[in-house]
Symmetry: C2
Subunit: 230 residues, 2 copies
């Protein structure tokens, strides 16, 4: 590439990273706020989270537009092209994570204030793990740090363990308290959403690894998929 | 574009459509086979579906590679660029649909042979609706037929109705038969997976519409999102 093209490309990449970073920040906040709304039964906060998800969708569209523009106009090669494609794919994953947070917010009105369900105290801790994974994997993307990406992947096991434990707890609770089966089912879906957020963070980790190294992450470094069937 | 470039672009697009069409066919088959495996408690068939999902993932990678190549080398404009980007996004959605089918297959061993649960007779009909939506929206993509895409969207309402009805049926069943709550919870997740497949078919419909018209589908023509909170 000629010098001015290189400079233009670098500027575009900085913009692209900025968009991804803003998306990531919003998705993280959406997860945290959704859990706060759930534990406080705060319907207004839940509505705000649902409304603000539109902004994440718009940012994804902006990433897509810019990435396609970069590929078409700057014709990046090898490492650079991989990074642009990674940005495109990571944006799509963050949009999904935003949807999971929105989905949790939508269940807030369906779960009562009683807080008698043990899950309500475990879910926020699980959400924190998933939200931290998202945060750290996006830092890894920004720093092109494939080693950090592998570290994030290892943490998915803890999210899965939370999920498996909650699945059993909630089922036992349902059996013992048939009257609250509806609420417990919603909590089960919320746990599943959080487990999926952890999975998606590992997908991003694999994209970061591939963008940085040009080869796919080895099977053993990927998150073990030990919960999908529950 | 010069004539030879136009021809090369047309050939690339044909290849791209071919890949999408193969992906779609495989995802549809995966849904149908997963439901057959579920109703027959066929563990071998379930394992095959899980193994074959890899092929859908590989096809998505092939679509991505070809789409990026087309954008970089052929520098398509307007309608053509929109179609290539749509293919890229549609491939990602089909991959997700494949994952949902795989997820259903993974639950097959967890649901007994007894078939005493009413849901087991309703789920295949719901799956058929969702799988038909996927089929028809991919036909609409191949034909650049935005009117057909709108028609597909309208059908998501029926899938949502199935889901809402199953949600209630399964919860009632759980209350009356606490001993089978585990199985019923898995059926609930399967119903949710099918409902999400319907949603994703409507996402594809919106992409087909945008690719063909260059503007986004009007809100009223989108599928009503009436189930996300359940």
């Amino acid at each position: 590439m000629q010098e001015h093209t290189v400079k233009a490309f670098d500027e575009d990449i900085v913009k692209l990273r900025g968009l991804i970073s803003e998306m990531g920040g919003r998705a993280e906040a959406a997860i945290d706020h959704a859990m706060a709304a759930l534990t406080r039964h705060d319907l207004d906060a839940a509505s705000r989270i649902i409304a603000e998800d539109k902004r994440i969708d718009e940012l994804e569209a902006a990433v897509e537009k810019l990435a396609v523009q970069i590929i078409a106009l700057r014709a990046p090669l090898a490492d650079d092209l991989r990074e642009v494609v990674a940005a495109l794919k990571i944006a799509a994953v963050i949009e999904r994570i935003g949807d999971y947070a929105k989905n949790i917010a939508k269940r807030v009105p369906l779960i009562g204030r009683q807080h008698q369900i043990e899950a309500l105290s475990v879910l926020p801790a699980m959400a924190q793990l998933a939200s931290d994974m998202l945060h750290d994997v996006l830092d890894a993307f920004a720093a092109r740090d494939w080693e950090a990406a592998i570290e994030v992947n290892k943490r998915d096991r803890a999210v899965d363990d939370f999920y498996n434990s909650l699945f059993r707890t909630l089922l036992t609770f349902m059996m013992e308290n048939p009257a609250t089966i509806g609420e417990a089912a919603h909590l089960l879906f919320i746990a599943k959403n959080l487990e999926r957020i952890g999975d998606h963070a590992t997908n991003v980790a694999e994209m970061v690894y591939f963008a940085a190294k040009g080869v796919h992450m080895a099977e053993r470094e990927r998150g073990d998929d030990v919960t999908e069937a529950q």
